[in-house]
Amino acid sequence: MASFPLTQARRAGLPAQRAGATLAEVFPAPGAEAAAAGFVMAQLGPGSGAVLWIQDRQARRETGRPFLAGFHRPLMLLHLSRPLDVMIAAEEGAQCRALAAVVAEIRGDPPAVDFTAMKRLALRAEAVGVPCWLIRQAATANLSAARDRWRISSLPSAAHPDDPRAPGAPRWRAELFRSRDRRPGDWVVCHDPGTADRLDLVAAVPDGPLAEDAGTVGQRAAR
């Protein structure tokens, strides 16, 4: 894989701006569903706007519900049973400017999540300017209208600053495998949820001039 200029890495990690708000899809690896939720929330960053979080019944039963104490944003939870309802509700939510983001979690490959529904959702999100994230648990990356498509898997966490036996800041492997307006890439993302709320991106397969300092190049995601 080619080397990544730092600007590329920084741009890929930018939280979805209001102007460029769009629909993005996240495919968590098995067991990394919470990592996907954490990645999405880290991309949104802290703020005061409410996040509408929609879950279908399967996703809630298999991977639990979002826990307010783990996030730093007001949450509005919508629990639905059918994936079709999740898509309808996400479309409703994407029309509301007052929301900071809409996050929808769907488990499996239901027929309701098809190209047409996603295209509608993407157009709504872009017209109104509400970032919309679709977390597709245990799904295959079929034909989709999402502008950015990520694959997330868990990595062993960074070293804890005080305790060598304890897990530290979470690290994920984030692969942007399809994107409309940026170059796809593969990164190791380290999210420090402490006071800095940093999101560090390191190219996963570094080579060329970045190889020697791959472990230290951390870009503070500007927000």
Binding site: F67, S157, H160
Partner: protein, 497 residues
């Protein structure tokens, strides 16, 4: 008491009339009796006495707590209902606690209305009959002034009409308890005694004070020297728009925009916004069916109100068609005209409330909730689901590290550990085993003794990470030697990002 009896009868667990029952209210020294039924009154239970004393007097007494706000609201509704007899009616709930006959009442200004009911006596008889048909017992009296009517209704004969008020006790003057006690100590037991005194000495003894402390003012009000008009509140406006159809139809959806526009026009005229909506269709075979919708914030936007009914119209069973559709707003709130902000954008709060309405109308009231932090260390109690827009969302300052996902019910796991009280070395969850590489903990969370059952075990939480980088939040319930059950069990409660 009557209202409570009716409520009990409606819920099907009313006791027989001949058992003593009472309603209690909070008093300064514990609960006091607020109202009694007839059997309890005969058994010697008095209003205003402490519940413990009355239990000693009448061991079979059954006590429930009263609902003063509900009583007040019911009285207001009753005052509007009473407009069938005369146009000026108000609810009068002034009265010291423990007044004979209760402190609540209705004041009706029947001037010029009595001849419509065949005279004053006949009107009182009609009123009593109608009220008892409602399940309410009432004591009625008719007098030229508010004060005299109040006194006669409570202390006079049954259905008194302009009886002389002189022999009534001074408590009939609507005075508070201390003033009545003072007058009794002065030897003034009846209104006649008080009226015989020279005005100057009464005015000197009670120079100032609110009417409830000043017998002179009350006396003048009773005799009519001081005016005390009945200023009846306006009945709340009824917002309703109807569509009368020449031919019965089966699908109301074409008429809904027109109905909403008509209703919103009325609401705009009164500067109100609808909180609840009720769509009623009257079928040709005499049946009525309704659907209701609710708004999180008052609204008079026709398109929004019509949207709330959009997918629910098919729940109406049209039968052979209906010829009258009526849309009314049973609950409204004042809503001033809104101005768009300088950029011409609509208000974002309104935007959010409309979203909440749409989602609630489509998916039901329980599906959508706002999560609010609660001061509790037990994870499942540290947040609560409140109705959206109920309170401003508050972001709590960050506390200890918490997972991003929480399971509704902690899932039991099988654990292998190296040290008995230590962290797990390997655990099995959902038929897969995880080998723990790193851990953090324990973080001990003790049960909340003020609301947990006795015998609830403490929890030791561990954040563990397996060799592949999955991070979990486990806890061990109890300790081996805490004497609250057998060996401690392990649960998986959450997943870290």
């Amino acid at each position: 008491m009557d209202r409570w009896q009716k409520m009990q009868e409606r819920s099907g667990n009313a006791l027989p009339d001949d058992l003593p029952q009472a309603l209690a209210a909070e008093g300064a020294h514990g609960p006091v009796i607020h109202a009694v039924n007839r059997a309890a009154g005969l058994a010697g239970v008095t209003v205003g006495a402490r519940v413990v004393d009355m239990r000693a007097l009448c061991p079979a007494l059954r006590v429930e707590f009263a609902d003063p706000e509900g009583d007040r609201a019911a009285l207001d509704r009753l005052a509007l209902w009473a407009r069938r007899w005369c146009p000026w009616t108000i609810a009068d709930d002034w009265g010291p606690a423990g007044t004979a006959g209760g402190s609540h009442g209705l004041i009706l200004d029947t001037t010029g209305s009595d001849h419509l009911w065949g005279g004053e006596a006949a009107m009182l008889a009609v009123m009593e009959a109608d009220l008892s048909a409602q399940g309410l017992s009432a004591r009625l009296a008719l007098a030229p002034t508010w004060g005299a009517a109040w006194a006669l209704a409570r202390f006079g004969p049954v259905r008194a009409i302009c009886a002389p008020t002189a022999p009534l006790p001074v408590a009939a003057l609507r005075l508070d308890g201390e003033t009545v006690l003072l007058l009794n100590r002065l030897g003034l037991r009846t209104i006649g005694h008080l009226a015989d005194l020279p005005r100057l000495s009464l005015a000197r003894r009670f120079p100032r004070g609110a009417p409830v402390q000043n017998p002179l003012i009350r006396l003048d009000q009773l005799t009519g020297h001081l005016p005390e008009p009945v200023s009846a509140p306006d009945a709340p406006p009824v917002f309703r728009s109807d569509a009368r159809l020449a031919e019965p139809i089966l699908d109301p959806s074409h008429h809904l925009p027109g109905l909403c526009a008509g209703l919103c026009e009325q609401l705009a005229k009164a500067r109100h916004g609808a909180r609840r909506l009720r769509l009623t269709v009257y079928r040709t075979d005499g049946e009525i069916s309704r659907i209701e919708a609710a708004c999180a914030q008052p609204s008079r936007d026709p398109a929004h109100l019509a949207f709330l009914f959009r997918d629910r119209l098919e729940r109406i069973n049209p039968g052979f068609g209906f010829d009258l559709i009526s849309l009314e707003a049973p609950a409204t709130e004042a809503l001033a005209a809104r101005q768009a902000d300088l950029a011409g954008e609509p208000d974002s709060g309104q935007d959010l409330s409309q979203l909440v309405d749409r989602l609630t109308a489509r998916f039901g009231r329980t599906a959508l909730a706002q999560v609010q932090p609660v001061a509790s260390h037990i994870p499942e109690r540290s947040e609560t689901r409140i109705p959206p827009l109920a309170a401003p969302p508050a972001v709590r300052p960050r506390s200890a590290e918490r997972p991003q996902r929480l399971f509704d019910h902690p899932e039991e796991i099988g654990v292998l550990h190296t040290v008995p009280e230590g962290p797990p070395a390997q655990f099995q969850w959902r038929r897969r085993s995880y080998r723990v590489a790193r851990y953090q903990g324990p973080e001990r969370i003790a049960p909340e003794w003020w609301q947990d059952k006795p015998g609830t075990r403490l929890r030791d939480y561990f954040k563990v990470e397996d060799t592949e980088g999955h991070r979990f939040w486990l806890y061990r319930e109890g300790r081996a030697d805490d004497g609250r059950g057998g060996a401690p069990r392990w649960f998986l409660h959450g997943i870290f990002a």
